[in-house]
Symmetry: D2
């Protein structure tokens, strides 16, 4: 448990609806793996066409799911009828993203009315064994009077 409480009781349904409209998630085959107040995980199974030429996941794929996980983690704590957008993020790539799937976790470190700061982690599972392959920090902004997420946009 994260210790945070959602302000919008419908946050999970809204989040899932938003995710389903994010076309690029379908293109790469990413799916929501965990949703809690202040914590979202997104999973990306191995596919040949997500790789760079050495058979590792392209860092852009780690970035795509990490940014989205943090964006939605922030979204879970915002009031209804607000959107989130990414102000900036930074990612350190710690090891080749090698394995049968990646899991990106976005965790809120510091929620705020306007800005929310998230910790980002990407873990690669190879033969079922987890390895931390990227670590990051992200600043999200809450935008009022827009009914949906702008996350990662």
């Amino acid at each position: 448990m994260t210790g945070f409480t959602a302000r919008d009781p419908d946050y999970e349904a809204k989040l899932r609806a938003s995710f389903s409209r994010m076309r690029v998630m379908e293109l790469i085959g990413a799916r929501l793996a965990r949703i809690e107040p202040g914590l979202v995980e997104i999973e990306l199974p191995f596919r040949e066409d997500l790789m760079q030429q050495h058979g590792f996941f392209h860092a852009g794929m780690s970035s795509t799911i990490a940014d989205t996980a943090g964006g939605y983690a922030s979204f879970t704590l915002n009031p209804g009828d607000t959107s989130v957008l990414t102000v900036e993020f930074k990612l350190n790539l710690l090891a080749p993203a090698d394995g049968e799937r990646l899991v990106a976790a976005g965790r809120v470190i510091k929620p705020g009315r306007t800005l929310t700061i998230c910790d980002l982690e990407v873990t690669a599972y190879k033969d079922g064994q987890p390895k931390l392959v990227a670590k990051g920090l992200q600043t999200m902004m809450c935008v009022k009077d827009r009914p949906d997420i702008l996350a990662a946009g």
Copy 2:
């Protein structure tokens, strides 16, 4: 002109061969738009399935082409028989990535034997008008005795 000189006379052919093996570039439809010593640009035309739900390019797509452009910009200045890998990058998203195409430019600020630092910029073209939509910094590492790029991996 960038003021830099390539150390490997075959750098452009190697770069193009490397890019063509980066499967994820084909998936999203990205192409090399400019290659000079210390400067690489990658173009990404609009496609519905690269978007988030508001019809803007997903920030992960900006990240994917920006990281790759910087990686290859670093690659152009390295000796032959070396690879590059991304240590870290940071991206500020300045405006929605709205338009008919994105162009990511990676420019070497400080080349080095081990580490090379690049400036990253992503420009969106809408009705032909350019707008800076993301700005970043990236640290690349040169890895010896590997015959190909690990960029963005």
Copy 3:
């Protein structure tokens, strides 16, 4: 010239008054070197007690003047009766900060009502010759109804 226009005609006087109350600037001997809409430079002359053990300026000193320069660059474009505070910054250290003085320049890349993004550069002058020793990006927030700068706080 920066191409920006100040919204508060008294911005320079307010900025100088704010800087003079920032006690740590006096401690380290930093001074305002240039003030224009969207651009502020801060100079830090060599002093033995600003160094690490090799006789180079400590990176914390580069950070201190770079963060402050960017904060005030943002301040020049804000309305009167607002403050600025640093949300985050990232700095790449490109070379040892060796010389008789450092100059940090903060330049607004993207002004905004709530958030302003700045480019940061630190140049070392050795025997009068400039060398870029650090490059960064910074996110500043404008806070209403506070009559003074919170920059770099």
Copy 4:
């Protein structure tokens, strides 16, 4: 305990000797508070002349001790006769640094022969109560054949 083992049995004595030569630490009144393999904490007691104009520690002071803590955390895991230097760091400022003292913790996330990645945290103590005021990530480089730390230089 951090789970790391030092490779140089004299690491603590070398670290303390290096710190004592870092003149700027004396200027601002910072002191080593904790040294373990992969973890270093630096404490900075309140002093009027470390403040910005609102009575909070200047963000440059948080940066100075955070960068140094991470640099020395990396140093504890390196072989003897090597130095460390900061490649880059990023800091998110989460709350005003208000209190009677700051403690910066640098923790190694990923050690490496050439590069080491650290997590940075700055905690402010006010009336004895801790509050996380800054969170960061840092990339350190190990430099061979130099007998002392270049950290934060």
